[in-house]
C-alpha cells in the first residue's frame, strides 16, 4: 500500500470498489437487476450509499488470514492436549450441540444469500459489502464445524447436524426463520438479516454463548466465537448503513421498512428463545441470565440507543416489543421446560437443574422462578427420585409462524397458555403469540407453505409412525437424546474423570 499518500483511505476504497461499476448499454438496468423493484422500495441514488467499512481485498485477506491462523492454532492445541477433558462438565456441550445444529446452518444460509445480494443489488457499494459478508459467513460456517469437530469425536449429538437441521422438529424454528428471510426480496432480506438479526439481535445470540464457552472451559468455541464476532461488527455496520440508506432514499420506504422491522424483530426474537433456554439452563457455570443479557444488549443498547437514533426517520420501536420485555422473566423457563419434556426426541440431553442452579435461578428471577417454575422442577425431581423420568407423551402443537411448541403464556398471566388463531382459505392456523399471528396475517400465502414437523410426522413423511422410526429418520443415535444423567456422555465423562489409574490402563489396552 505504497499509494496512500495521494489517495485517502476513503478515496482509495472507493476507487477499488464502487468505481469498478459502469453503466450498462448493451442490456438495460431492468434486465441486469430484475429483483429490486417488486418490493416497492424506491432508490433514487445508489451513490449515496456510505461505505460502512473500508477493507479492500488485500487488507481483508491479510487480516482474515491472521485471524484464522490464531484460531486454528488454538483448535489444534486444544485437540492435542485433550482439552475437552477440562470442560466444566460434559453436559455443557448440550449448548454447543444446539449451536451446531441450529446456528451453523444459518451461517451457511447467510453465506449463500449475501452472495445473492452481491449480485442483485443495483449499487456497487452495497454489493461489495455483501460479497465480503458472504465469504465471512462461509468462514463462520467452517470455523464452527472445525471447532466442534473435535468434540464430535468423543460426544453425542454433533454428528449429523446438517441432516438434522433439515428434519428435526425444534430445528425447524431457526431453519424456517432463515428460509423466510432468503425467500423474501433482496431489501427485506437486507433488513431481516443485515439489520434485524445482525444488528438488533446478534449480540444477544453470540456474546452470551461465547462468554459461556469461556466460563465453561471451552476455549475453542470462545476463540472461534470472538473471532467470528470481529467480522460480525463489520456486518453490523452494513446492516445499520442499509437501514439508514433505505430510509433516507425515499419517504415511501419508511412504512415498508417499519413493517419489516416489526416482523423481523419478532421473528428473530422467537429464535433467540432457544438461546434463553441455553443460557439459563444448559451452562453448568452461569455467565449471565437471559434477563440480564436482554436488558443489556436489547433494552439498553437497542431500545435506549439505536431506536432513539431511528426516531429521526419516523421509525418506532418494533411492534410487540412490550411482550418481549414482559416475557424476559418467563421465557427461558418455558422454553427449557419444553426441551426437558421433549428431549427424548432431540439430539441433546436435558436434566433437572441442580440445587445450586435452582438457587441461582431464584436469585436471577425473584418474581417468577420460585412461584411458577421451581414447583415443576420439584415435581420432575420427585419422579426421578422414584426411579422415573418425566417426558411429555405425544407431540406438541406448533405455532404456524415460529414453529415453537405453543408453550408461551398470556401477556400478564404466566399461568394461562397463550393461543391465537387465524382462518385462511377455510383452514385454521394456530399461533403462540400476538406477534406470530400478526406476522402470519400479513402474508398468509407464505406461512401456509411451512414444512411443519409435527404435521409431517402425522402425514407419514418422517420415517414412520412410531417414535423410534422418526428418531432414526432424524439421524438421532443412541445416547444423543433424553436425560443427561446416565447418558452415554455422562458415563464416559465420569469414566474419564475417575481418578484411579486403572481407568487409564484399561483404556490404553483398547
Amino acid at each position: 500500500m505504497a499509494n496512500t499518500k495521494k489517495l485517502s483511505m476513503k478515496q482509495r476504497y472507493s476507487a477499488l470498489t464502487r468505481d469498478l461499476d459502469w453503466e450498462s448499454s448493451y442490456v438495460s438496468e431492468e434486465e441486469l437487476f430484475p429483483h429490486t423493484k417488486f418490493e416497492g422500495i424506491k432508490i433514487h441514488d445508489w451513490a449515496k450509499w456510505e461505505d460502512p467499512f473500508r477493507l479492500t481485498i488485500d487488507a481483508y485477506c491479510k487480516y482474515q488470514a491472521e485471524k484464522d491462523k490464531r484460531l486454528y492454532a488454538v483448535l489444534d492445541g486444544f485437540a492435542q492436549s485433550q482439552g475437552h477433558l477440562t470442560l466444566s462438565d460434559a453436559r455443557y456441550l448440550n449448548a454447543m450441540k444446539l449451536f451446531l445444529q441450529g446456528v451453523t446452518p444459518l451461517e451457511y444460509q447467510a453465506h449463500r444469500h449475501f452472495g445473492y445480494l452481491a449480485r442483485h443489488l443495483n449499487g456497487p457499494g452495497p454489493r461489495f459489502a455483501a460479497l465480503c459478508q458472504s465469504i465471512d459467513e462461509l468462514r463462520h460456517t467452517q470455523t464452527e464445524i472445525h471447532t466442534l469437530s473435535n468434540y464430535n469425536k468423543y460426544y453425542g449429538g454433533l454428528h449429523s447436524w446438517s441432516k438434522m437441521h433439515d428434519r428435526v422438529w425444534y430445528l425447524s424454528v431457526p431453519k424456517s426463520f432463515f428460509d423466510d428471510a432468503i425467500s423474501a426480496g433482496p431489501f427485506e432480506f437486507l433488513i431481516a438479516i443485515g439489520f434485524s438479526f445482525e444488528y438488533l439481535l446478534t449480540n444477544l445470540l453470540f456474546v452470551p454463548f461465547m462468554s459461556g464457552a469461556s466460563f465453561n472451559g471451552d476455549l475453542p468455541s470462545m476463540t472461534f466465537g470472538f473471532s467470528a464476532q470481529s467480522d460480525e461488527s463489520r456486518h453490523m455496520t452494513l446492516g445499520l448503513e442499509a437501514i439508514k440508506f433505505l430510509l433516507e432514499q425515499d419517504e415511501g420506504n419508511v412504512p415498508i421498512v417499519q413493517g419489516w422491522i416489526d416482523k423481523w424483530f419478532w421473528r428473530g426474537y422467537r429464535v433467540t428463545a432457544l438461546v434463553a433456554g441455553m443460557l439459563d439452563y444448559m451452562l453448568p457455570r452461569k455467565v449471565m441470565s437471559w434477563k440480564e443479557a436482554f436488558e443489556l444488549y436489547f433494552e439498553e443498547q437497542m431500545l435506549g440507543g439505536l431506536f432513539k437514533d431511528l426516531e429521526f426517520y419516523g421509525i418506532t420501536p418494533p411492534r410487540h416489543v412490550e411482550h418481549a420485555i414482559a416475557e424476559k422473566d418467563l421465557l427461558s423457563h418455558q422454553v427449557y421446560w419444553t426441551l426437558y419434556s421433549f428431549s427424548f426426541a432431540a439430539a441433546f440431553t436435558t436434566t433437572v437443574p441442580e440445587a445450586g442452579e435452582r438457587a441461582w435461578l431464584a436469585e436471577q428471577y425473584p418474581d417468577t422462578f420460585n412461584t411458577f417454575y421451581k414447583p415443576r422442577w420439584d415435581k420432575a425431581q420427585a419422579i426421578i427420585d422414584g426411579g422415573g423420568r418425566f417426558f411429555f407423551q405425544g407431540l406438541p402443537q406448533l405455532c404456524q409462524t415460529c414453529q415453537i411448541p405453543m408453550v408461551f403464556t398470556e401477556p400478564g398471566d404466566p399461568t394461562t397458555l397463550c393461543q391465537r388463531h387465524s382462518v385462511y382459505r377455510g383452514e385454521r392456523f394456530d399461533f403462540c403469540s400476538d406477534g406470530c399471528k400478526w406476522i402470519f396475517d400479513r402474508e398468509p400465502e407464505k406461512y401456509v407453505q411451512a414444512w411443519m414437523p409435527v404435521h409431517q410426522i402425522y402425514q407419514g413423511n418422517c420415517g414412520g409412525p412410531s417414535v423410534p422410526e422418526v428418531l432414526a429418520w432424524y439421524g438421532i443415535q443412541d445416547g444423543d437424546n433424553g436425560e443427561y444423567t446416565g447418558s452415554l456422555d455422562h458415563l464416559d465423562w465420569r469414566r474419564w474423570h475417575a481418578s484411579e489409574p486403572a481407568v487409564a490402563s484399561t483404556t490404553k489396552e483398547s
Binding site: A59, S211, F226, E232, T237, L240, V287, G305, D309, L310
Partner: protein, 98 residues
C-alpha cells in the same frame, strides 16, 4: 463537552481480552476518552462512553511502539453499539447520528 447533557446516550465497543496488543488498544481508548468506563466479562472487555468514542491511531502507536493501521482494530473488536461514523487512516469514531 456536549451541551445536551440531559440525554447523552452511550455508545460502546467490546474487545477480545486475549492479546497484549488489545490491552494497549484498551489503554489508548481510555486515554483518549476520559469518560469511558471499562468492565470485564469472561474473555471480553466492554468499553462504554457517553455520546462518542474514538480510537486514535497515534495513541495506539505510541503505546505499542510500532506502526498500527486502523484496520488492525478488526483483530480486536467483538461488537459495538452506536454508528461507526468514521473509519479512516487516523481514527475510528463511534457515535449516534441523531
Amino acid at each position: 463537552m456536549t451541551s445536551e447533557a440531559t440525554d447523552v446516550r452511550k455508545v460502546g465497543v467490546d474487545l477480545q481480552e486475549a492479546t497484549e496488543d488489545t490491552r494497549r488498544v484498551v489503554e489508548a481508548i481510555e486515554r483518549d476518552n476520559e469518560d469511558a468506563t471499562v468492565s470485564y466479562l469472561p474473555g471480553l472487555v466492554k468499553i462504554q462512553a457517553p455520546g462518542r468514542l474514538v480510537v486514535r491511531r497515534q495513541t495506539v502507536e505510541d503505546l505499542l511502539g510500532r506502526p498500527w493501521e486502523t484496520h488492525e482494530f478488526q483483530l480486536a473488536i467483538v461488537s459495538y453499539y452506536g454508528h461507526i461514523a468514521e473509519w479512516d487512516d487516523d481514527e475510528i469514531v463511534i457515535k449516534w447520528d441523531h
